[in-house]
Symmetry: C2
């Protein structure tokens, strides 16, 4: 789902009066389209030492594996959004356990909020935007076929605090060490 204007020819980028940054402004009616960073919410979901991954059936990175994650909706909490995404993509019923990480991906204006979660049962199935779901043991994780860098970050960060009840939430910015 793209959120770019569908008729971009009728928009131009300029600084509106009283503003300090260029915005997309409709050349017909002056409507200002404020673009904001997007919030992605997701979760590393565990069932009996196995972790849930979903094989993407849409671009970008169709065919590659991800944790359930997606854009937060209006009037939704980040926890509720992470649960919704797990259901939409993998029909997974989960319970959020802890905030795991906050990732910045500034070149695509994304902030990602990741949780540690438990599957309430192992009955999962491929659903929206997903061709296949699977519960992987750590050794089976297809590291070379992960969809995005932050999927690997989240899995590795999960591994570091597995079983710990108190830990410092991880932060990471794409492109930094």
């Amino acid at each position: 789902m793209s959120d770019a204007p569908r008729k971009s020819r009728s928009f131009e980028r300029k600084i509106p009066p009283g503003d300090s940054l260029p915005r997309l402004v409709c050349t017909d009616c002056g409507f200002i389209y404020y673009e904001n960073p997007k919030l992605v919410v997701g979760s590393v979901c565990e069932w009996s030492d196995r972790l849930l991954l979903c094989r993407r059936s849409i671009e970008p990175r169709s065919g590659f594996w991800t944790i359930p994650a997606g854009y937060l909706e209006l009037n939704e909490t980040t926890e509720a959004g992470a649960c919704r995404e797990a259901w939409e993509e993998a029909r997974a019923r989960i319970e959020i356990d802890a905030l795991l990480a906050v990732y910045n991906v500034p070149h695509i204006s994304q902030v990602q909020i990741m949780y540690r979660a438990r599957l309430l049962n192992p009955e999962v199935e491929a659903a929206d935007e997903t061709s296949e779901v699977r519960l992987f043991s750590w050794e089976e994780i297809p590291w070379g076929d992960l969809a995005f860098p932050s999927v690997e970050w989240a899995l590795q960060h999960f591994r570091q605090v597995r079983g710990k009840s108190n830990f410092t939430v991880f932060t990471k910015t794409h492109g930094t060490q």
Copy 2:
């Protein structure tokens, strides 16, 4: 700065083809205005046992006190956004120390990411959207005149982990205990 359409009469709320939620659609050209939750970034800034607060000079809550905070911009990291807001509102030079809290305010579709920070020097002054800045000792904080609930949450959460180098990041949703 409002991000609502300037000419709302030309937009209607309906579910676009292939979508599942109602969106604002221009009745003239079909342009879809995707509304997304907004990310607010801010910081509790300390200088020698005193905390920086800014008195707002704009609505909402003009005249009330806040920590420096505001909307994240495109292509900006949350840490950089928090530093920018401290500069814009209070001419404060700060160093981010730790992620302090993630707050959900779903009724206004906001997620707030708050940091613990150190002022690099005590030279602060009222700037954008601010009529007055002041470094308060804990006892002096004007609890009855804070601008938003999350300002109090951040100050109280800061207090709980003052001086601690490792702690669990706080999470809170507006309207819950």
